[in-house]
Amino acid sequence: MPVPILKQGDCLIASIQSALTDADLLELRDELSERVGRYRSKGVIIDVTVLDVLDSFASRTLRTMAEMIRLRGAETVIVGIQPEVAFSMVQLGLSLDGVTTVLDLEEGLAHLDRSRRARVAHAGG
């Protein structure tokens, strides 16, 4: 099942709606990388609130996604990891090192907004 991707200003929001197969996740990875270029996006939010499992493949793919998007010039924020999902990830030995994770969509948008202001201040100074 494909993941809807919304464009909001210079951000993209991928809002996962249901459990994803490996193929779905890889498709999302390629789609986001392509759209960052098409829309010249600076930030990407991936909302995983509905995911009830983040296993080794999903964690690895999210890390890969964030790195690909970074290489394309945008910042990725993962939002909505549920407490029990976080617990299972830690037990399993998984991490999302190097990827920004925040509580929810609101925090994700606020984070990207701060990054945008920092960029503007840097360019202006």
């Binding site: 193929a23 499992v53 983040l54 296993d55 080794s56 399993l92 030995g93």
Partner: protein, 137 residues
């Protein structure tokens, strides 16, 4: 979302979609059996990892999830069975950091940490049966 009652679950594992089906059915069974959300998530994650191991090493196999009783204890067991190449050194496969298929090497030791009991029966050429049990608290 309403769910129909689930009896014992047996899912043939041949593709990535089967991994999702197995963990989703296993989750329903564990919920129905009275496990809390954290335990349910650990069971579903363990099923996902065991199903992945089947795909990665044996290409096909099956996952069976059923309720178990032992004395006054009640829980669910997850059995992952395949006729793949088998594990030459089970002790080594359970060490953190060990892997033969270039994955992160977290699979089996990590999965064992999610469950209460974890047993591997395997030998080269004779497939693998992994039984993992979680008891209800």
């Amino acid at each position: 979302m309403s769910r129909t009652p689930v009896d014992d679950v047996c899912v043939a594992i041949r593709s990535d979609a089967d991994v999702v089906a197995a963990r989703s059915l296993g989750r329903s069974l564990a919920e129905q059996h009275g496990f809390g959300t954290t335990d349910v998530t650990m069971i579903a994650t363990a099923i996902s990892e065991l199903a992945r191991n089947i795909l990665k090493y044996a290409h096909e196999g099956e996952i069976v999830v059923e309720t178990v009783e032992r004395g006054s204890m009640s829980g669910v067991s997850v059995v992952a069975r395949d006729d793949g190449p088998g594990i030459p050194d089970v002790g080594l496969a359970l060490q953190d950091g060990f892997s033969t298929a270039n994955s992160l090497g977290l699979g089996l030791p990590g999965t064992r940490r999610l469950m209460d009991e974890f047993e591997i029966v395997s030998a080269p050429g004779s497939g693998t049966v992994i039984t993992a049990i979680k008891w209800r608290r």
